[in-house]
Amino acid sequence: MNQPVIIFDNVSKSYPLYHHITGGIKNFLFHLPKALSSIKNSRYEVLKDVSFETYKGETLGIIGKNGVGKSTTLGLIAGVLKPSKGKVVVRGRISPLLELGGGFHPELTGKENIMLNGVLLGLTRNQVKSKMDEIIEFSGLGDFIYQPIRTYSSGMYARLGFSVIAHLDPEILLIDEVLAVGDMEFQKKCLDKMTGFKKSGVTMVFVSHSMEDVEKICDRVIWIDNQSIRMTGSPKDVVLNYSNLN
C-alpha cells in the first residue's frame, strides 16, 4: 500500500496567455513585433513548485477555489499537459472521467457512444463488447440507449459517462466534478461504485466542490490556493479549515 503511483516533484505550470493570437493570423501579422514580444513575456503561472505523492489504493481529494489549478493538476496527471518545470511521474493506466458529453457524439446512439468512449479511454473493441450489457444495465437508461444522445438530458449524459468509466478496470481514476448533475439515486450508485473501487485498490484523484462527498470518500485531501499547496491532511481537518475561511 505504500508505493507512490503519482509523484509531483516540484512541479510548476505556466501558460502563455495566447492573447497575441486570439485575433488570428491577420492581427498577428499586422502587429508582428508586439505579438512576438508578448509570446515571450506574458505567461500566467498556475502552479508553482508543487510537490505531493499519491499512494496505491489511496483516494486523494483536491479542493480549492475556481481557477486555482485543480483541473491543471488533473491534466498534468493525465499527461495531456506538460509541466513547465519539475517532474510528474505516473505509474499505471489512467482513466479520466470525461466532462459532460466529452468523447460523445450527439448523433450516435447511447450504445454506439459507449463503444466510442470505451475505445477512446483505452479498451479494445472486444473488451467493450463483452462489457456492453453490464454498462447498459448500470447506466439504467433502458430503451434510451438506442436513441441518439442529443435527446438525452444532462443527467443522462452523466449516467452514460460514469457507467463507461466504472467498467474500465481503471488503475488510476481521475474524477473532475461531474457527478453533481446526476439524480440522488445515481449519485449514490456512483459513490457505491467508488467505494467498491477503493476496496479493490484503485487509486483515485477526486476534484470536487462538494465537501460532503470529499469527506465521505477521500483518504487524504490537498487544498490548493495561490499557486501552491496550502494544506494537506485528513479530509476532516482540511475541509474544516477550508470551510472556515469561506
Binding site: G24, I25, L81, G103, E112, V119, L174
Partner: protein, 252 residues
C-alpha cells in the same frame, strides 16, 4: 504504448461514416452528388457555352473532380477536427494525429466508393477500365493519402493557434483548384506557364489519376514528382504537428 490504436481508428472512422450517413438517408448519393454537380456546371460553361474543343469532356471532368473532392473535403474540414474534439483532447492522452488520420481515411473510402461512377461514365463513352488500375489505383491512393494527411495535420494543428486559418484554407483550396489541371488539360496551358505546374504538388497527382482512369496509363515522370511531393508534404505537415501537439490541451 497503446494496444488499441487500430480499434481506435476503426471506431473513429465508423463514427464519421455513421454521422455522415445517418443525418441524411441519401448518404452515398450526397457524397457523389457534389462532384457530379460541379462536373455538370463546368460542362455547361465550357462545353456548351464556350465550346471548348474536347472529346468526352464530361468523363474528363469527373476523372479529375472525384480525386480532387477527396483532397478538398479533407483539407476544408481540417481546421475543425481538433477544435471539434476539444473535450477529449483536454482529458485523454492519445495520439492526436489519429483524428485527422480518420478524417482523411474516411474521405478516401468515399472516393473509392465513387470509382464505380467513373466506370459508368467510361462505359457511356464506350471505353472500359484497364488492368493497370490494379496497381495504379493503390499506388495513387497512397500518394494522395500522404499529401492530404500532411496538409490536414498542418492545417488542423495551426488552426488551434490561429483560428482564422479556416477562412484562408478555403481560399487556398479554391485557388489550387483552378491552378490544377482539373477542368482543363495540362496540354492547353501556354508554353510560358507550363513549367509552373510542376510547383503545384497536386497537379502531377491529378494528371496521373486522369491518365489512369481515361487511358489506363501511369506516366513515370508525373508519378515520380507526385511521389516526391507526397513525402515532402507529409514530412513537413508531420513536423508542424509534432512541434505543436503538446500544446493542444493548453490552448483548447
Amino acid at each position: 504504448m497503446r494496444h488499441n490504436i487500430i480499434d481506435l481508428v476503426i471506431v473513429l472512422t465508423q463514427k464519421e461514416m455513421k454521422v455522415r450517413y445517418k443525418s441524411s438517408f441519401l448518404g452515398y448519393f450526397w457524397s457523389i452528388a457534389n462532384p457530379l454537380a460541379f462536373a455538370f456546371v463546368f460542362f455547361i460553361a465550357f462545353k456548351i457555352v464556350m465550346k471548348i474543343e474536347m472529346e468526352s469532356y464530361a468523363l474528363f471532368l469527373i476523372a479529375g473532380l472525384f480525386p480532387w473532392q477527396w483532397f478538398s473535403n479533407s483539407v476544408n474540414i481540417s481546421p475543425m477536427v481538433f477544435l471539434g474534439n476539444a473535450s477529449i483532447i483536454k482529458k485523454v492522452n492519445f495520439p492526436r494525429n489519429i483524428i485527422p488520420f480518420t478524417i482523411v481515411l474516411q474521405d478516401m473510402i468515399h472516393f473509392i466508393l465513387s470509382i464505380p461512377v467513373i466506370v459508368l461514365f467510361l462505359f457511356i463513352y464506350q471505353k472500359s477500365p484497364s488492368l493497370s488500375w490494379l496497381y495504379g489505383i493503390p499506388l495513387l491512393l497512397i500518394i494522395q493519402f500522404l499529401i492530404t494527411f500532411g496538409v490536414s495535420l498542418a492545417v488542423s494543428s495551426v488552426n488551434l493557434f490561429f483560428r482564422d486559418l479556416e477562412r484562408l484554407t478555403s481560399i487556398f483550396t479554391t485557388l489550387f483548384f483552378y491552378f490544377t489541371p482539373i477542368i482543363y488539360p495540362e496540354t492547353m496551358i501556354p508554353e510560358t506557364y507550363k513549367p509552373f505546374i510542376n510547383f503545384n504538388p497536386l497537379a502531377p497527382l491529378v494528371i496521373s489519376w486522369r491518365n489512369l482512369f481515361l487511358k489506363g496509363t501511369l506516366e513515370p515522370f508525373y508519378l515520380f514528382i507526385s511521389f516526391f511531393y507526397s513525402i515532402l508534404v507529409f514530412v513537413l505537415g508531420y513536423q508542424v504537428y509534432r512541434k505543436l501537439s503538446w500544446r493542444f490541451a493548453e490552448i483548447l
